[in-house]
Symmetry: C2
Subunit: 383 residues, 2 copies
Amino acid sequence: MSYQPFTEQTVVEHVRQLGYLQDGIAECEEIGDGNLNLVFRIRQGEQRLIVKQALPYAKVVGESWPLTLERAWIEQLALREFANVAPRFVPDVLGSDRTLAYTILEDLSDYEIVRTGYLKGESYPELARHVGEFLGETLFATSDYAAGPIAKKRIERDYYNPELCDITEKLIFTDPFKDAESNNIEAALREDVERLWQDQALKVEVTKLKVGFVTKHEALLHGDLHTGSIFATQQETKIIDPEFAFYGPFGFDLGQIIAHLTLSTFYDPFKRFERFTDVLTVWETFEKTFRANFERAVEPFNTDGFVDELLRTIFSDTIGYAGCELIRRAVGLAGVADLETLPEATRLERKRDALALGTALIKERHSVESIDDLVTLLSGVRV
Amino acid sequence: MSYQPFTEQTVVEHVRQLGYLQDGIAECEEIGDGNLNLVFRIRQGEQRLIVKQALPYAKVVGESWPLTLERAWIEQLALREFANVAPRFVPDVLGSDRTLAYTILEDLSDYEIVRTGYLKGESYPELARHVGEFLGETLFATSDYAAGPIAKKRIERDYYNPELCDITEKLIFTDPFKDAESNNIEAALREDVERLWQDQALKVEVTKLKVGFVTKHEALLHGDLHTGSIFATQQETKIIDPEFAFYGPFGFDLGQIIAHLTLSTFYDPFKRFERFTDVLTVWETFEKTFRANFERAVEPFNTDGFVDELLRTIFSDTIGYAGCELIRRAVGLAGVADLETLPEATRLERKRDALALGTALIKERHSVESIDDLVTLLSGVRV
């Protein structure tokens, strides 16, 4: 069967043929935003399914460009890989088809997208611990340290994801630092952004972080781990949508989530203590989990003292990538509701904060000594 | 046709069928050492060919283990890739077959293997400049900086070479630093080597260099660039045998060739000035070629000042990998004639020098400021 997008009718027929539904009526609703994927919620009695199907193009702010369907295959591969070591933190994958570019997933209707919850003033008390644990498990398990280089290279080969990586590479590391068409710069912010573009030392550091992104094949990353890629309840956390998954630097996912926890405080300053405590908890839980796993690292990576040096590098990378993400969300193509829904004066102030804080994180990443120092730096921004 | 090793008869028949030979008598001689590959030299009138065929096992010091035939495919792919930008420095590839695991190559009978020439007291006045240029061209051309990350990822995917990389990873970075069966330690050297094994700081640094080898996918490397992998005449230089080719750190090939130029002075101290000048020339030519190519680096890698920082990292990696290679050749599985053919007392002294110098290079690689300082360090060893 060749690829074609499902309709609410054809998807029900298809999953019925696969045995997921009985004869008789099934409810089906397309609930995606239609920019990249179709998302169908199907219900029949107790049975509840999600079918997520990739579209052969991406739409962002009115623009549309072709985008490989292979990302659906990579996404389900990554979910299965993560489930090997952290099944609690990803949705169950019930089925997938490479040609039709769909994945059948556990329905998480009882959960809420974390960014949406945050905008409503919600808190997720287990979130930070869960994300830290997820990263400590999956980043270790897919690295050379767990499996040894031969096994790792075999896994790694499945995660070549050039088109999706290219989006990240352009939108995070390149376009925000020059006068690119893709940028979305508010007129009142133009002067601040132009100052950024003249900061040669900053641009060299961003280039080094981009080089890390494209050359350091350390572990299987989610690749897009912001608060919109996490479903949560008060007790549970599910990481979704790893279509940007690839082998990259340990610090990238960590940096992204820390940046988005920070951005959420720009929207809701009353949550500063809670969210910065979450930043601390994400890192500390990651580090603890990663160190515990490292007890069974293969030689010679189990050399005494090596893991300490490794964690120092992961930490400075994390800070640098968090900085890039803050800047990108203030000036780049993909804005976030945390900033965009603020009233104008506040919004401009917060975007300036994002630029200043992002710059500081990138430039000072090697001299931040501890997670406490990082939290001090993050929370030092006036609000 | 399924794989089987050629004989002197069947290989002539095979290449005749492919149209490389006329009817009538052709001379054929197997000239390989039989450890990893069969190498047939075929002559008929003006026609001269080499057919190199991989054997499905490796033999080293009496041991034999299975080894993927895929390495023949990777070798010819790499030779063709190198020929795109540095055709003068590799043999012409006339044909290849993935199943039969052979490559048909230009015959280089007028050339000599550099290590063999060095042992006879030969000099190759163009060698260092050619090797520097070869590395400056090929390392740049296969990097993210030349092709952009999408094109680079597509090339990179062909060079997954886990089995061959595993040999390097074990024999260079792991086994020499512990009491491994594969080591070949002279009894009189045992005490020195045991001191090395107790040097925890050294072992952490070697582990970091191994991590670079397995995670930094910077450029297509030759992967085994010692003086036995280079054919030369007084005027010409040909890099051969890239069956260990893979995407790795820029500094690895550079470090290997510098280590082997240094080892050649351990055999023949009268050539010290010449060979250390060669070390200088290899680096300086590499840097000059790489910088010139970098003028056309894709953005944002063309950011002012970035290439200087990159070259600093390449330089310290180079020094570290040279150090690992020196240690490995003194205590590991694969000895080199430069050391092994020396009379016992001298040999032990030189091996101790290799251990001391290797250790210094690894530990001090970040504080060596320039190629002149490196040459001073290399030549500081008493002889």
